[in-house]
Point group: C2
Chain length 216, copies 2
């Protein structure tokens, strides 16, 4: 089973690494990081670079497609090479997935029309522009399309998919292997739970956090 994780400039690292650390532990799987060009691809704050080992063209028919988000998602909405690749890969994929604002790229490729989907909470309403129905759930499965909420939700999405692909026992073994017994020191992980002033702060900086035109 080949799992392709897409990289682009100013992606959010955990969006990509959460699915990698879970799906990459599937028995008999191979993860490959793909981008327009091979070589290092810089994350949103510039201090992390993940290597794309293959170009998009090198990997035309992965079994699982994973599209992360991040500030760099906005310019990718006009990257026809990437959108074409997503459409082509989706034609033969078993699962087509996204984390965070990666769902806007799936949507821009035309894959989420009439489907339930999610995204980073600050970008959720943007899905409507493409005919998708945003939901407040953390991981949304609609047919073979699995979209996850912001950044850290890719771990929950990956585990969900491991369970669908290889069964509960394998997913539990992966969860135990990565000791995923979350104990956040605060309970501020959603706009419903965070203090109002923290939500307001993030809303006011959403252009910075998500990279511009995707939220207003």
């Amino acid at each position: 089973m080949q799992i392709a994780i897409v990289l682009f400039d100013r992606f959010t690292a955990l969006d990509a690494v959460g699915p990698y650390e879970t799906l990459g532990r599937l028995p008999d799987s191979e993860v490959v990081f793909v981008a327009d060009r091979t070589g290092p691809v810089r994350s949103d704050n510039g201090s992390l670079a993940l290597t794309a080992d293959r170009t998009l063209r090198d990997v035309p028919a992965p079994d699982v497609v994973v599209v992360p988000g991040g500030p760099g998602q906005t310019p990718q909405m006009a990257n026809e090479t990437l959108l074409d690749w997503i459409r082509t890969a989706d034609a033969t994929s078993t699962w087509t997935t996204s984390v965070c604002t990666g769902s806007l790229l799936l949507a821009a490729a035309g894959l989420l029309e009439g489907r339930r989907a999610t995204s980073h909470w600050l970008a959720l309403e943007e899905l409507r522009r493409f005919g998708a129905e945003p939901t407040g759930e953390r991981v949304v499965t609609d047919g073979k399309y699995v979209t996850a909420a912001g950044v850290s939700s890719g771990v929950d999405m990956g585990l969900t998919l491991v369970g669908r692909i290889s069964g509960d026992a394998v997913a539990q073994a992966v969860q135990l292997g990565i000791e995923y017994d979350p104990q956040p020191p605060y309970d501020a992980g959603s706009p419903q739970k965070a203090p109002a002033e923290v939500v307001a702060l993030l809303r006011s900086r959403s252009r910075f956090i998500l990279g511009g035109e995707t939220t207003t």
Copy 2:
């Protein structure tokens, strides 16, 4: 504030990226990935490479030291260059931290003697060899030493440290920014919670999972 995250061959990616995605959002912080040599460093399964932008020598006095774990931790126990760097960096650091079996590297450097600490659940007892007192907690703070349990616990550790460094509101903003409202689809993230047969499976494969001599 300079945050140095150490990389070495066959590190576990999420061990490094969890702290990066949280601590990297601290105001006025700079994250730098360091290793023996600059360039791409391959993770445990070989399919992910993170770039080390600086050598250990280039970054002698970071404010925060982060040491990840992974199968590649075992050979690093004999890497005197790395252990010397950890000791030197620790001499002036504000916080010295680890995720997963990275705590065994802090311990091997002599930093955890007489201290409470944690590690991946499969490696916890190894801490005793170095005079540390293992605890079953997910994030353990003893003085300026903060150790975290397996792999995914680096996110909880990072948020804890953001709160200590910049206060609760900033930590809550980071948590909301990465939408860290965990909803694992299973409840198997610790050996106390996972089904007995899943725990037994991982114990039988611990040499594979953790890379050999650290567990028997």
